[in-house]
Symmetry: C2
Protein backbone atom coordinates (compact mmCIF):
# COMPACT_ATOMS: atom_id res chain seq x y z
CA UNK A 1 0.00 0.00 0.00
CA UNK A 2 1.49 3.32 -1.02
CA UNK A 3 2.17 5.86 1.66
CA UNK A 4 -0.30 8.30 0.21
CA UNK A 5 -3.38 6.06 0.09
CA UNK A 6 -5.06 7.92 2.92
CA UNK A 7 -4.12 11.29 1.57
CA UNK A 8 -5.75 10.60 -1.79
CA UNK A 9 -8.65 8.89 -0.04
CA UNK A 10 -11.28 11.21 -1.46
CA UNK A 11 -10.39 10.19 -4.99
CA UNK A 12 -11.42 6.65 -4.14
CA UNK A 13 -15.00 7.56 -3.33
CA UNK A 14 -17.89 6.57 -5.53
CA UNK A 15 -19.52 9.92 -6.23
CA UNK A 16 -23.21 10.43 -5.70
CA UNK A 17 -23.62 11.22 -9.40
CA UNK A 18 -21.91 7.96 -10.38
CA UNK A 19 -24.13 6.02 -8.02
CA UNK A 20 -27.25 7.74 -9.39
CA UNK A 21 -26.18 6.94 -12.93
CA UNK A 22 -25.71 3.27 -11.99
CA UNK A 23 -29.10 3.16 -10.23
CA UNK A 24 -30.90 4.91 -13.07
CA UNK A 25 -32.58 7.43 -10.78
CA UNK A 26 -31.69 10.24 -8.39
CA UNK A 27 -31.62 10.18 -4.62
CA UNK A 28 -33.89 12.46 -2.59
CA UNK A 29 -35.72 12.71 0.73
CA UNK A 30 -39.51 12.55 0.67
CA UNK A 31 -40.51 13.99 4.01
CA UNK A 32 -44.13 13.20 4.91
CA UNK A 33 -45.55 15.42 7.62
CA UNK A 34 -49.03 15.49 9.11
CA UNK A 35 -51.14 14.60 12.13
CA UNK A 36 -51.11 11.22 13.83
CA UNK A 37 -53.45 8.96 11.86
CA UNK A 38 -53.26 11.15 8.75
CA UNK A 39 -51.91 8.28 6.67
CA UNK A 40 -48.21 9.27 6.39
CA UNK A 41 -46.81 5.79 6.97
CA UNK A 42 -49.41 4.11 4.80
CA UNK A 43 -48.75 6.41 1.86
CA UNK A 44 -44.95 6.21 2.35
CA UNK A 45 -45.12 2.42 2.27
CA UNK A 46 -47.32 2.35 -0.84
CA UNK A 47 -44.88 4.73 -2.58
CA UNK A 48 -42.06 2.46 -1.42
CA UNK A 49 -43.80 -0.55 -3.01
CA UNK A 50 -44.30 1.33 -6.27
CA UNK A 51 -40.62 2.34 -6.29
CA UNK A 52 -39.44 -1.21 -5.53
CA UNK A 53 -41.59 -2.51 -8.39
CA UNK A 54 -39.74 -0.10 -10.71
CA UNK A 55 -36.36 -1.30 -9.46
CA UNK A 56 -35.77 2.00 -7.64
CA UNK A 57 -33.64 1.98 -4.47
CA UNK A 58 -35.71 3.27 -1.58
CA UNK A 59 -36.04 2.99 2.19
CA UNK A 60 -38.67 3.99 4.74
CA UNK A 61 -37.74 5.61 8.05
CA UNK A 62 -40.50 5.71 10.62
CA UNK A 63 -41.12 5.42 14.34
CA UNK A 64 -40.91 1.64 14.20
CA UNK A 65 -37.36 1.40 12.95
CA UNK A 66 -35.96 4.62 14.45
CA UNK A 67 -37.29 4.74 18.00
CA UNK A 68 -36.02 1.22 18.69
CA UNK A 69 -32.47 1.89 17.59
CA UNK A 70 -31.00 5.22 16.58
CA UNK A 71 -33.33 7.35 18.69
CA UNK A 72 -33.96 4.92 21.53
CA UNK A 73 -35.52 6.30 24.69
CA UNK A 74 -34.06 6.10 28.19
CA UNK A 75 -35.90 2.85 28.94
CA UNK A 76 -34.23 0.90 26.17
CA UNK A 77 -30.80 2.37 26.80
CA UNK A 78 -31.04 1.70 30.53
CA UNK A 79 -31.35 -2.00 29.82
CA UNK A 80 -28.50 -2.16 27.33
CA UNK A 81 -26.10 0.52 28.61
CA UNK A 82 -27.01 1.32 32.21
CA UNK A 83 -28.50 4.26 34.07
CA UNK A 84 -25.94 7.05 33.48
CA UNK A 85 -25.87 6.34 29.76
CA UNK A 86 -29.66 6.34 29.49
CA UNK A 87 -29.81 9.62 31.38
CA UNK A 88 -27.24 11.22 29.09
CA UNK A 89 -28.40 9.90 25.73
CA UNK A 90 -31.98 8.60 25.93
CA UNK A 91 -34.42 10.67 23.85
CA UNK A 92 -37.67 11.58 25.54
CA UNK A 93 -40.56 13.74 24.38
CA UNK A 94 -39.57 17.18 25.62
CA UNK A 95 -39.42 19.95 22.99
CA UNK A 96 -35.64 19.77 22.72
CA UNK A 97 -35.63 15.96 22.61
CA UNK A 98 -38.21 15.98 19.83
CA UNK A 99 -36.07 18.43 17.93
CA UNK A 100 -33.04 16.16 18.26
CA UNK A 101 -35.20 13.23 17.14
CA UNK A 102 -36.08 15.06 13.93
CA UNK A 103 -32.52 16.35 13.45
CA UNK A 104 -31.06 12.84 13.57
CA UNK A 105 -33.74 11.46 11.25
CA UNK A 106 -32.92 14.26 8.83
CA UNK A 107 -29.21 13.43 9.01
CA UNK A 108 -29.88 9.74 8.33
CA UNK A 109 -32.27 10.54 5.48
CA UNK A 110 -29.49 12.66 4.02
CA UNK A 111 -27.04 9.73 4.23
CA UNK A 112 -29.52 7.58 2.31
CA UNK A 113 -30.06 10.36 -0.23
CA UNK A 114 -26.32 10.83 -0.73
CA UNK A 115 -26.03 7.09 -1.40
CA UNK A 116 -28.47 7.55 -4.29
CA UNK A 117 -31.50 6.18 -2.43
CA UNK A 118 -34.98 7.67 -2.19
CA UNK A 119 -35.54 8.01 1.56
CA UNK A 120 -39.17 8.20 2.68
CA UNK A 121 -39.71 9.53 6.20
CA UNK A 122 -43.01 9.34 8.05
CA UNK A 123 -43.02 11.37 11.24
CA UNK A 124 -45.56 13.89 12.54
CA UNK A 125 -42.71 16.45 12.68
CA UNK A 126 -45.13 19.16 13.84
CA UNK A 127 -42.78 22.14 14.05
CA UNK A 128 -41.95 24.23 11.00
CA UNK A 129 -38.52 25.24 12.32
CA UNK A 130 -37.42 21.62 12.79
CA UNK A 131 -38.49 20.67 9.27
CA UNK A 132 -36.87 23.78 7.81
CA UNK A 133 -33.63 22.95 9.59
CA UNK A 134 -33.66 19.51 8.00
CA UNK A 135 -34.31 21.11 4.61
CA UNK A 136 -31.38 23.46 5.20
CA UNK A 137 -29.00 20.49 5.78
CA UNK A 138 -29.69 19.15 2.32
CA UNK A 139 -28.58 20.16 -1.14
CA UNK A 140 -31.08 22.34 -2.98
CA UNK A 141 -33.86 20.19 -4.42
CA UNK A 142 -33.15 17.10 -2.31
CA UNK A 143 -35.83 17.75 0.32
CA UNK A 144 -39.38 17.11 -0.84
CA UNK A 145 -41.88 18.03 1.83
CA UNK A 146 -45.21 16.26 1.45
CA UNK A 147 -47.98 17.60 3.65
CA UNK A 148 -50.55 14.88 4.35
CA UNK A 149 -53.45 17.23 4.92
CA UNK A 150 -56.03 14.97 6.55
CA UNK A 151 -58.50 16.91 8.72
CA UNK A 152 -58.16 16.37 12.46
CA UNK A 153 -61.74 15.04 12.66
CA UNK A 154 -60.91 12.23 10.25
CA UNK A 155 -57.63 11.39 12.00
CA UNK A 156 -59.41 11.33 15.34
CA UNK A 157 -62.24 9.21 13.96
CA UNK A 158 -59.73 6.68 12.62
CA UNK A 159 -57.54 6.77 15.74
CA UNK A 160 -55.72 3.58 14.67
CA UNK A 161 -53.64 3.35 17.85
CA UNK A 162 -56.26 4.76 20.26
CA UNK A 163 -53.98 7.73 20.96
CA UNK A 164 -56.53 10.50 20.39
CA UNK A 165 -58.86 8.84 22.86
CA UNK A 166 -56.09 8.81 25.46
CA UNK A 167 -55.11 12.40 24.66
CA UNK A 168 -58.74 13.57 25.05
CA UNK A 169 -58.89 11.73 28.36
CA UNK A 170 -55.71 13.53 29.47
CA UNK A 171 -53.74 10.29 29.67
CA UNK A 172 -51.26 11.55 27.05
CA UNK A 173 -50.01 15.11 27.35
CA UNK A 174 -48.66 17.32 24.54
CA UNK A 175 -50.43 15.36 21.83
CA UNK A 176 -50.21 17.06 18.44
CA UNK A 177 -53.55 18.48 17.35
CA UNK A 178 -55.08 18.17 20.81
CA UNK A 179 -52.95 20.08 23.32
CA UNK A 180 -49.87 20.68 21.19
CA UNK A 181 -49.81 22.58 17.90
CA UNK A 182 -49.30 21.23 14.42
CA UNK A 183 -47.63 23.84 12.22
CA UNK A 184 -48.65 23.07 8.65
CA UNK A 185 -45.99 23.67 5.97
CA UNK A 186 -46.40 27.00 4.20
CA UNK A 187 -44.82 26.02 0.91
CA UNK A 188 -44.53 22.22 0.79
CA UNK A 189 -43.49 20.61 -2.47
CA UNK A 190 -46.69 18.59 -2.45
CA UNK A 191 -49.98 18.48 -0.54
CA UNK A 192 -52.01 15.30 -0.52
CA UNK A 193 -55.50 15.18 0.93
CA UNK A 194 -55.95 11.76 2.40
CA UNK A 195 -59.53 12.30 3.51
CA UNK A 196 -61.30 11.14 0.38
CA UNK A 197 -58.81 9.21 -1.72
CA UNK A 198 -57.12 5.83 -1.54
CA UNK A 199 -53.47 5.45 -0.48
CA UNK A 200 -52.77 4.15 -4.00
CA UNK A 201 -54.16 7.33 -5.59
CA UNK A 202 -52.12 9.51 -3.26
CA UNK A 203 -48.95 7.47 -3.77
CA UNK A 204 -49.43 7.86 -7.52
CA UNK A 205 -49.44 11.65 -7.06
CA UNK A 206 -46.06 11.35 -5.33
CA UNK A 207 -44.66 9.16 -8.12
CA UNK A 208 -45.96 11.63 -10.73
CA UNK A 209 -44.22 14.44 -8.89
CA UNK A 210 -40.92 12.50 -8.87
CA UNK A 211 -41.23 11.98 -12.62
CA UNK A 212 -42.04 15.63 -13.22
CA UNK A 213 -38.94 16.56 -11.24
CA UNK A 214 -36.92 13.96 -13.19
CA UNK A 215 -35.87 12.19 -10.01
CA UNK A 216 -37.35 9.15 -11.73
CA UNK A 217 -37.08 8.80 -15.45
CA UNK A 218 -40.09 7.86 -17.58
CA UNK A 219 -38.28 4.61 -18.39
CA UNK A 220 -37.33 3.84 -14.75
CA UNK B 1 -59.06 5.70 2.43
CA UNK B 2 -60.49 2.88 4.49
CA UNK B 3 -60.64 3.27 8.24
CA UNK B 4 -58.26 0.42 8.80
CA UNK B 5 -55.37 1.56 6.61
CA UNK B 6 -53.18 2.36 9.57
CA UNK B 7 -54.11 -0.79 11.40
CA UNK B 8 -53.03 -2.99 8.49
CA UNK B 9 -50.00 -0.77 7.93
CA UNK B 10 -47.44 -3.52 8.45
CA UNK B 11 -48.85 -5.47 5.53
CA UNK B 12 -47.90 -2.59 3.26
CA UNK B 13 -44.18 -2.81 3.98
CA UNK B 14 -41.73 -4.03 1.43
CA UNK B 15 -40.00 -6.86 3.28
CA UNK B 16 -36.24 -7.04 3.48
CA UNK B 17 -36.33 -10.38 1.65
CA UNK B 18 -38.36 -8.88 -1.20
CA UNK B 19 -35.95 -5.97 -1.48
CA UNK B 20 -32.95 -8.33 -1.49
CA UNK B 21 -34.57 -10.41 -4.23
CA UNK B 22 -35.12 -7.27 -6.31
CA UNK B 23 -31.54 -6.08 -5.74
CA UNK B 24 -30.04 -9.49 -6.51
CA UNK B 25 -27.90 -9.51 -3.35
CA UNK B 26 -28.25 -9.50 0.41
CA UNK B 27 -27.81 -6.59 2.81
CA UNK B 28 -25.13 -6.69 5.51
CA UNK B 29 -22.82 -4.48 7.56
CA UNK B 30 -19.09 -4.65 6.86
CA UNK B 31 -17.52 -3.13 9.95
CA UNK B 32 -13.89 -2.15 9.40
CA UNK B 33 -11.95 -1.65 12.61
CA UNK B 34 -8.29 -0.78 13.11
CA UNK B 35 -5.85 1.96 14.06
CA UNK B 36 -5.87 5.45 12.59
CA UNK B 37 -3.99 5.27 9.30
CA UNK B 38 -4.47 1.51 9.00
CA UNK B 39 -6.28 1.89 5.69
CA UNK B 40 -9.90 1.26 6.78
CA UNK B 41 -11.46 4.07 4.72
CA UNK B 42 -9.31 3.35 1.71
CA UNK B 43 -10.21 -0.33 1.66
CA UNK B 44 -13.90 0.40 2.36
CA UNK B 45 -13.99 2.80 -0.59
CA UNK B 46 -12.28 0.36 -2.93
CA UNK B 47 -14.78 -2.35 -1.90
CA UNK B 48 -17.55 0.19 -2.47
CA UNK B 49 -16.25 0.83 -6.00
CA UNK B 50 -16.10 -2.88 -6.75
CA UNK B 51 -19.66 -3.33 -5.45
CA UNK B 52 -20.95 -0.36 -7.48
CA UNK B 53 -19.33 -1.82 -10.61
CA UNK B 54 -21.31 -5.02 -10.01
CA UNK B 55 -24.57 -3.08 -9.64
CA UNK B 56 -24.65 -3.83 -5.91
CA UNK B 57 -26.30 -1.30 -3.64
CA UNK B 58 -23.80 -0.05 -1.05
CA UNK B 59 -22.96 2.95 1.10
CA UNK B 60 -19.93 4.06 3.11
CA UNK B 61 -20.27 5.57 6.58
CA UNK B 62 -17.17 7.28 7.93
CA UNK B 63 -16.05 10.24 9.98
CA UNK B 64 -16.52 12.59 7.07
CA UNK B 65 -20.22 12.03 6.59
CA UNK B 66 -21.19 11.15 10.16
CA UNK B 67 -19.35 13.67 12.35
CA UNK B 68 -20.73 16.57 10.31
CA UNK B 69 -24.35 15.54 10.60
CA UNK B 70 -25.74 12.70 12.68
CA UNK B 71 -23.01 12.77 15.33
CA UNK B 72 -22.15 16.45 15.22
CA UNK B 73 -20.08 17.84 18.05
CA UNK B 74 -21.03 20.73 20.35
CA UNK B 75 -19.32 23.29 18.11
CA UNK B 76 -21.49 22.57 15.09
CA UNK B 77 -24.70 22.30 17.10
CA UNK B 78 -23.99 25.54 18.93
CA UNK B 79 -24.01 27.39 15.64
CA UNK B 80 -27.18 25.80 14.31
CA UNK B 81 -29.20 25.17 17.50
CA UNK B 82 -27.76 27.30 20.27
CA UNK B 83 -25.84 26.72 23.49
CA UNK B 84 -28.27 24.62 25.55
CA UNK B 85 -28.90 22.27 22.66
CA UNK B 86 -25.17 21.83 21.96
CA UNK B 87 -24.56 21.10 25.64
CA UNK B 88 -27.32 18.50 25.74
CA UNK B 89 -26.73 16.74 22.44
CA UNK B 90 -23.26 17.50 21.08
CA UNK B 91 -21.00 14.44 20.97
CA UNK B 92 -17.49 14.91 22.27
CA UNK B 93 -14.66 12.43 22.76
CA UNK B 94 -15.24 11.20 26.31
CA UNK B 95 -15.55 7.43 26.74
CA UNK B 96 -19.34 7.59 26.97
CA UNK B 97 -19.62 9.97 24.00
CA UNK B 98 -17.45 7.69 21.88
CA UNK B 99 -19.66 4.79 22.84
CA UNK B 100 -22.77 6.71 21.74
CA UNK B 101 -20.98 7.65 18.50
CA UNK B 102 -20.45 3.95 17.72
CA UNK B 103 -23.95 2.97 18.90
CA UNK B 104 -25.60 5.45 16.50
CA UNK B 105 -23.37 4.42 13.60
CA UNK B 106 -24.34 0.82 14.30
CA UNK B 107 -28.02 1.74 14.32
CA UNK B 108 -27.72 3.59 10.99
CA UNK B 109 -25.70 0.76 9.44
CA UNK B 110 -28.52 -1.55 10.51
CA UNK B 111 -31.09 0.68 8.77
CA UNK B 112 -29.06 0.46 5.56
CA UNK B 113 -28.70 -3.30 5.96
CA UNK B 114 -32.43 -3.74 6.53
CA UNK B 115 -33.07 -1.81 3.32
CA UNK B 116 -31.03 -4.44 1.46
CA UNK B 117 -27.86 -2.34 1.23
CA UNK B 118 -24.29 -3.35 2.00
CA UNK B 119 -23.20 -0.78 4.56
CA UNK B 120 -19.44 -0.27 4.90
CA UNK B 121 -18.32 1.48 8.07
CA UNK B 122 -14.80 2.81 8.63
CA UNK B 123 -14.20 3.89 12.23
CA UNK B 124 -11.35 3.06 14.60
CA UNK B 125 -13.97 1.70 17.04
CA UNK B 126 -11.23 0.64 19.46
CA UNK B 127 -13.33 -0.98 22.19
CA UNK B 128 -14.43 -4.58 21.95
CA UNK B 129 -17.56 -4.04 24.04
CA UNK B 130 -18.82 -1.25 21.75
CA UNK B 131 -18.34 -3.36 18.64
CA UNK B 132 -19.93 -6.40 20.28
CA UNK B 133 -22.95 -4.30 21.26
CA UNK B 134 -23.37 -3.27 17.63
CA UNK B 135 -23.09 -6.90 16.60
CA UNK B 136 -25.76 -7.81 19.15
CA UNK B 137 -28.21 -5.27 17.61
CA UNK B 138 -28.11 -7.06 14.29
CA UNK B 139 -29.62 -10.26 13.01
CA UNK B 140 -27.27 -13.26 13.13
CA UNK B 141 -24.89 -13.11 10.19
CA UNK B 142 -25.50 -9.45 9.31
CA UNK B 143 -22.43 -8.07 11.09
CA UNK B 144 -19.12 -8.76 9.35
CA UNK B 145 -16.21 -7.50 11.41
CA UNK B 146 -13.08 -6.84 9.35
CA UNK B 147 -9.95 -6.22 11.37
CA UNK B 148 -7.52 -4.08 9.40
CA UNK B 149 -4.40 -5.34 11.12
CA UNK B 150 -1.78 -2.81 10.08
CA UNK B 151 1.11 -2.58 12.57
CA UNK B 152 1.27 0.61 14.61
CA UNK B 153 4.73 1.43 13.20
CA UNK B 154 3.37 1.47 9.66
CA UNK B 155 0.32 3.56 10.62
CA UNK B 156 2.55 6.00 12.46
CA UNK B 157 5.00 6.15 9.56
CA UNK B 158 2.16 6.96 7.16
CA UNK B 159 0.44 9.39 9.53
CA UNK B 160 -1.73 10.76 6.70
CA UNK B 161 -3.37 13.44 8.85
CA UNK B 162 -0.36 14.19 11.07
CA UNK B 163 -2.29 12.93 14.09
CA UNK B 164 0.34 10.55 15.46
CA UNK B 165 2.86 13.36 15.45
CA UNK B 166 0.49 15.51 17.48
CA UNK B 167 -0.32 12.62 19.82
CA UNK B 168 3.40 11.93 20.44
CA UNK B 169 3.87 15.63 21.13
CA UNK B 170 1.01 15.48 23.65
CA UNK B 171 -1.12 17.88 21.62
CA UNK B 172 -3.85 15.23 21.25
CA UNK B 173 -4.80 13.20 24.32
CA UNK B 174 -6.36 9.73 24.40
CA UNK B 175 -5.13 8.84 20.94
CA UNK B 176 -5.71 5.18 20.08
CA UNK B 177 -2.45 3.22 19.98
CA UNK B 178 -0.47 5.96 21.75
CA UNK B 179 -2.11 6.75 25.08
CA UNK B 180 -5.41 4.93 24.61
CA UNK B 181 -5.80 1.20 23.97
CA UNK B 182 -6.88 -0.53 20.80
CA UNK B 183 -8.67 -3.77 21.61
CA UNK B 184 -8.22 -6.04 18.60
CA UNK B 185 -11.18 -8.29 17.74
CA UNK B 186 -10.80 -11.83 19.07
CA UNK B 187 -12.91 -13.60 16.45
CA UNK B 188 -13.46 -11.19 13.55
CA UNK B 189 -15.06 -12.53 10.39
CA UNK B 190 -12.02 -11.41 8.42
CA UNK B 191 -8.50 -10.09 9.07
CA UNK B 192 -6.71 -8.13 6.38
CA UNK B 193 -3.06 -7.19 6.73
CA UNK B 194 -2.64 -3.87 5.02
CA UNK B 195 1.07 -3.61 5.61
CA UNK B 196 2.30 -5.31 2.47
CA UNK B 197 -0.59 -5.49 0.03
CA UNK B 198 -2.46 -3.04 -2.16
CA UNK B 199 -5.93 -1.78 -1.25
CA UNK B 200 -7.24 -3.55 -4.38
CA UNK B 201 -5.86 -6.91 -3.21
CA UNK B 202 -7.38 -6.43 0.25
CA UNK B 203 -10.73 -5.30 -1.17
CA UNK B 204 -10.79 -8.41 -3.35
CA UNK B 205 -10.44 -10.52 -0.20
CA UNK B 206 -13.54 -8.82 1.18
CA UNK B 207 -15.48 -9.41 -2.06
CA UNK B 208 -14.40 -13.08 -2.05
CA UNK B 209 -15.66 -13.39 1.51
CA UNK B 210 -19.05 -11.91 0.51
CA UNK B 211 -19.31 -14.44 -2.32
CA UNK B 212 -18.36 -17.33 -0.06
CA UNK B 213 -21.08 -16.23 2.34
CA UNK B 214 -23.52 -15.88 -0.57
CA UNK B 215 -24.22 -12.25 0.26
CA UNK B 216 -23.22 -11.66 -3.33
CA UNK B 217 -24.03 -14.22 -5.97
CA UNK B 218 -21.42 -15.41 -8.45
CA UNK B 219 -23.54 -13.79 -11.17
CA UNK B 220 -24.02 -10.48 -9.30
Amino acid sequence: MANDTNVTWHDHRVSREERERLHGHRGCVIWFTGLSGSGKSTIANVVDHMLAARGVKSAVLDGDNVRHGLNAGPGMLRESHGEAYAERFGLGFSAIDREENIRRIGAVAQLFCESGTIALTAFISPYRLDRDRVRAMMREGDFIEVFVDTPLEICEQRDPKGLYKKARAGEIKHFTGIDDPYEAPETPELVVCAGERTPEELATEVIDYLMKREILSAAG
